[in-house]
């Protein structure tokens, strides 16, 4: 089945998740003076992206791969856009999260209202995220990353406050170093193989020496590890994410690091033969990431910083699944990624609600929210228990899948580590619960708590958060079919030949 032979007509829309947000961003700039029009454009764009993504996922799940060559130039010369099951799942989940956070941002009196640039930037970020998932070309992946990062640089420093500038600076510099390494890796790969098309690379890398291949593999792991926040490259993350405004932090925490994880999964399975050595490296990195992240979380006093350290420890779980290099392991990792994107974003949205309601998100400064704002408390509790991995929530199923895969792969120490880390995650969630929601209602010194209505927050902010909590509950209900989908995606990933044939057509 050569690319282009399938004439279901779905290939025509493959580029839409990238093109629509970019058009929306342009329209948002034009209508900058009319805030309501800007909002409508953003919401309509994101809803359409969600619709297209769902269509692409259904098509990818039934046929395996949806491939489009940009401009009609066939691979490996032209740039290809490829949606397989993994990319389809990621597209749908990211579209859901982007939409919910956009609703939340509109409800919040903050940067969305003060800055004309917010909506266009947000859509450029969306386009960059979609492009990273869809692209079948390594250099195009670099461009997609830059598109996403350039928007994120501005979003993180949009308020212009001293702490935002300070931590934004380190975020930009670290990201630029990673980008430089990425270009260098691309240059070396091109010098060795003469191509940057991923399917073509997958074949030609088989011809270079194994030592060189391991070198490339590690270089790309470092490049994407910086973006994903792997040990020991995570240090910038808890420092920079919490300083941005609530919705921006939420979307960064939920999506951006996971784009890095996606790139790691994609490159390590497609470009390099999954080997014993690389698996061991990944497992050690995963273990260290989990432990360091959760220890960091326990030491913190700020709700957002605790959650930011949790991202790191959770990234460890995803890499654990990949490092096993089995269908069960990678399926667990994929399931964990989609669960984590939704739950983590929801938790950061709740942190934003707490910050707004109590005037601070520090455990030592807030308290007693369970009485003064029961709705917020309930919205926190469900994703928190899910993140900590308690049944019957999606986090339990995701962790169970990974632990099961680990036992099957006889990697006992990593299984033990992940279970202990899970316990500590629960502990730090309890710490937030007792610090923020229980106890005496003490006011943050020097800050006026926002006077609010009965629900404790503006309606739209609650709707955005509630939507994500609802999606995470839906994930636990539909876990069976979702896990089967992840399994099918994992089978594709472990058989790179299918990807190569889908992109390049029948070739030996």
């Amino acid at each position: 089945m050569a690319a282009g032979v399938m004439t279901t007509g779905i290939q025509g829309v493959v580029a839409l998740p990238i093109v629509l947000p970019l058009l929306g961003a342009a329209a948002g700039v034009v209508f900058g003076a009319w805030r309501q029009v800007q909002r409508a454009i953003t919401l309509v764009t994101l809803v359409s992206v969600l619709g297209v993504s769902i269509a692409l996922l259904i098509e990818a799940d039934s046929t395996g791969y949806v491939v489009q060559s940009a401009g009609g130039w066939a691979a490996p010369l032209g740039i290809v856009l490829v949606v397989d099951r993994l990319a389809g799942i990621m597209l749908v989940v990211s579209a859901i999260v982007l939409l919910a956070v956009a609703v939340y941002a509109i409800g919040q009196a903050g940067e969305e209202r003060q800055r004309v640039a917010f909506h266009p930037l947000y859509l450029v970020l969306a386009a960059g995220v979609s492009a990273s998932f869809i692209t079948g070309d390594l250099f195009n992946l670099f461009v997609a990353f830059e598109m996403m990062l350039a928007a994120s640089y501005v979003l993180i420093t949009l308020g212009g406050r001293p702490d935002q500038i300070r931590s934004g600076m380190s975020y930009v510099v670290i990201s630029l170093v990673a980008s430089t390494l990425f270009i260098s890796a691309l240059a070396l790969l091109y010098a060795a193989t003469g191509t940057v098309n991923m399917a073509d690379l997958s074949q030609r890398l088989g011809e270079v020496s194994p030592e060189l291949r391991t070198g490339f593999s590690l270089l790309l792991l470092v490049v994407f590890g910086i973006k994903a926040g792997l040990f020991p490259l995570f240090f910038w993350l808890p420092d920079s994410y919490p300083t941005a405004s609530g919705p921006v932090t939420a979307i960064f925490a939920g999506l951006l690091t996971k784009v890095g994880v996606y790139a790691i999964i994609r490159t390590q399975t497609l470009l390099f033969e999954p080997g014993e050595t690389m698996g061991t490296v990944l497992l050690w990195v995963a273990g260290a990431t989990m432990v360091v992240g959760v220890i960091g979380a326990i030491a913190q006093d700020d709700m957002k910083r605790i959650l930011a350290f949790h991202i790191i420890s959770q990234i460890g779980y995803m890499i654990l699944g990949l490092g096993l290099f089995t269908v069960a392991g990678i399926a667990g990792a994929v399931f964990y990624v989609i669960h984590h994107i939704v739950v983590k974003t929801a938790l950061f949205l709740v942190a934003g609600l707490v910050d707004r309601r109590a005037g601070s998100a520090r455990l030592s400064e807030v308290g007693g929210l369970v009485r003064s704002a029961p709705v917020i408390s309930a919205l926190f509790l469900i994703p928190a228990l899910s993140l900590a991995g308690l049944p019957p929530f999606s986090g339990f199923l995701a962790k169970f899948a990974l632990v099961d895969a680990g036992i099957e792969g006889r990697s006992w120490w990593i299984v033990a580590t992940s279970l202990v880390v899970g316990l500590f995650t629960l502990f730090s969630m309890t710490k937030i619960w007792t610090g923020v929601f229980w106890g005496e209602a003490d006011e943050a010194p020097g800050r006026e708590p926002v006077v609010t209505d009965r629900l404790g927050s503006p309606l739209l902010m609650l709707v955005g958060t509630l939507a994500l909590v609802g999606v995470s509950i839906a994930f636990s209900i539909a876990a069976g079919s979702l896990y089967e989908l992840s399994e099918r995606a994992a089978e594709d990933l472990l058989d790179p030949g299918r990807y190569v044939v889908a992109v390049l057509g029948e070739r030996p």
């Binding site: 640089y153 001293p162 500038i165 300070r166 600076m169 380190s170 930009v172 630029l176 091109y190 030592s364």
Partner: protein
């Protein structure tokens, strides 16, 4: 010629990495610029031997084997544009930072300053903690 390009790349990477370690923002930004140049040069070097003609040679031959590979040059061009844009943003950020602090030193992390302050308050004799410094207290007047 290719060896020379490789040596220049190495030099640019070394200088860029050294500048990146500095405490002054201006030096960090120049360091990022140098690193970007090094990576772009590496990309061009990946295209094959230096000195080959692009598209058509001076004797009119269009033999593909003797021409330079145009793809890495196109990639380098894209990378240059991106580096340029981001460097401009970085300069704006540095200027804003200078506006706020009237200095271009990189500041310590807020949480690090919290820990330091707490250590000073608790002291060796474990003095009574008369309230942690709040975020607002630290944000005000932390000029240098």
């Amino acid at each position: 010629m290719t060896v020379l390009l490789a040596a220049v790349t190495a030099l640019l990477f070394a200088c860029g990495a050294w500048l990146l370690m500095q405490r002054r923002l201006t030096r960090i930004i120049i360091g990022i610029g140098l690193l970007g140049h090094g990576a772009n040069l590496l990309l061009v070097t990946a295209g094959g031997k230096a000195g080959r003609p692009p598209i058509v040679a001076s004797d009119g031959s269009t033999d593909l084997a003797t021409l330079s590979d145009p793809l890495p040059q196109a990639l380098a061009l894209t990378a240059i544009v991106i580096t340029f844009g981001v460097t401009a943003f970085l300069l704006a950020l540095g200027y804003r930072s200078w506006q706020i602090t009237s200095d271009d030193m990189v500041e310590d992390d807020l949480e690090d300053r919290f820990l330091e302050r707490r250590r000073a308050i608790d002291g060796p004799e474990g003095a009574v903690d008369d309230g942690d410094p709040t975020t607002s207290e630290l944000e005000v007047g932390e000029g240098s």
